[in-house]
Symmetry: C2
Subunit: 297 residues, 2 copies
């Protein structure tokens, strides 16, 4: 792997939800490690949540217990907050920006077009990790799912989509995917536009989006890839709203920890690919050196 000059240095980490309940915080530990700085500072944005006063202290406790000395709790509830220079400055000084769960529409409505969102994109380009769980993961899509009963999906118009935060181009990310049986949602999305890769994140599981559009699975469960590129027929353009969508020849992969996917080549990568990344924390002297290493990966 290599990055060309234009490729951003940072990583996105999209987590399928419930990431701190079942596996001793392995996913969050990896998020911190990906920041490639010995003492990362973390900003937590709870815009998606309706209960930030409960969620934010939980993440403070979690990250503090993991040895993070500086945790900025950003209770960004309005677009005015999201343009507040003090908040933008905190994000601009963070090595990890973490988006909590909740409602992804709140995230896009509040953050869309703001200085805070611009700062997050800038930090990612500079090498920071932008991580999100549940709604915070779904919102990373350019076109994001924000609603749709899985039991009624794969019926035209059931999956509700709108513009996401557009961190990861070419994908549609769904969370709680295995636990809530959401396969039909990504099948419906794939029928509408087979070019978009469907990424279904199991709980306590995440996908790391590396440069060069390489995905890596971390955590205890599955990252389900729904690749609709291979579809050879569907009735979606002929049927009325609410009618059952037919489609044929979708390719599905179920990836577990250490496996990856090359979005450009559309192929599964074996565990060996990420052996280096999964090695114990490298003892490197300074963030600058770590960034230099990162740029060659």
């Amino acid at each position: 792997m290599h990055t060309d000059g234009a490729a951003p240095l940072g990583r996105f980490v999209a987590i399928g939800g419930a990431e701190d309940k079942t596996s001793a915080r392995a996913v969050l530990r990896r998020v911190l490690k990906l920041a490639r700085t010995p003492v990362p500072s973390v900003s937590v944005i709870a815009t998606a949540s309706q209960i930030p006063e409960i969620i934010l202290p939980m993440y403070q406790e979690t990250f503090t217990a993991m040895g993070v000395p500086t945790v900025h709790l950003l209770d960004v509830r309005t677009r005015k907050h999201a343009n507040d220079p003090a908040i933008v400055a905190q994000v601009s000084a963070s090595d990890v920006v973490f988006l909590t769960g909740g409602d992804q529409l709140r995230l896009t409505h509040v953050l869309g077009g703001t200085e805070l969102l611009a700062a997050m994109r800038r930090r990612h380009a500079e090498g920071a990790v932008i991580a999100g769980t549940s709604a915070g993961a779904a919102a990373m899509s350019r076109t994001m799912i924000y609603d749709g009963d899985p039991a009624a999906s794969l019926h035209k118009g059931n999956v509700k989509m709108t513009s996401g935060l557009a961190f990861v181009p070419g994908v549609v990310i769904d969370s709680h995917f295995v636990q809530r049986g959401r396969f039909t949602r990504l099948l419906e999305v794939g029928a509408a536009n087979p070019e978009r890769l469907g990424i279904g994140l199991g709980e306590d599981t995440a996908v790391v989006v590396h440069p060069d559009r390489i995905l890596e699975t971390i955590g205890s469960g599955h990252v389900i890839i729904v690749d609709s590129w291979s579809i050879d027929q569907s009735n979606i353009a002929e049927i009325a709203q609410g009618e059952a969508i037919a489609l044929s020849n979708v390719t599905v992969h179920a990836l577990t920890a250490g496996q990856g996917f090359d979005m450009n080549a559309r192929r599964v990568l074996p565990v060996e690919t990420f052996a280096e990344l999964n090695a114990p924390q490298l003892a490197l002297p300074a963030p600058e050196a770590l960034l230099a290493v990162a740029s060659q990966m």
Copy 2:
């Protein structure tokens, strides 16, 4: 399509559950039509159900309302019942044998190795329709699923399987498939043995198993085909019970009414294939003539 001398004349119809609630009994009307006799007699077997005293009268009312003059309600609760010559005689005189929902383990435990099951197989070979809904559909598999939480499936050992009634070889049938989000169950099954074709039946939807291993979709929802033949890697033989199963390159089709699947060629068949079968009831003179027609399809 044609049948060779050994191929059975009858059809199996596996229904995904909830078949009489939402679409004015279209699926059950088709079951009766497939019997290819102007006045079909129907046997209903409620062995799977824990409430046969409620279920059986419901089906009597339904079939009677559809113009069936003779409905045998078979309250077969024990293996002794299933070897009762009077009950066997009723099934042997039926054009349609219908298995209700409930628990598929009850079906296999009570019917396995009995005269009643032998009579059903014989009647199918003679041209009768064997239909089943929910548990009655799942039990048609040679190796059948009888349990497995979808939210926990695709973890080794979660899907519980045992020997089914073996009506349809080479397939594993799951019901309530879309509504209960059971994709993970057939993915787990496919990883264990890619040769078996996974058939996931949506509610109020059914698959007709024609001679020559041709499947046809009927009803308002989806028949999901999970074809694992194309799998190129999985960790299933290496991991411990309960660990997440990785697999790559499963092919999924979502078929709607009129579409079919050729199990021998493993390819989707277009709606046109079944145009003749979906035409209005043919006015043919006698059951013998209908059987002759059926043998040439």
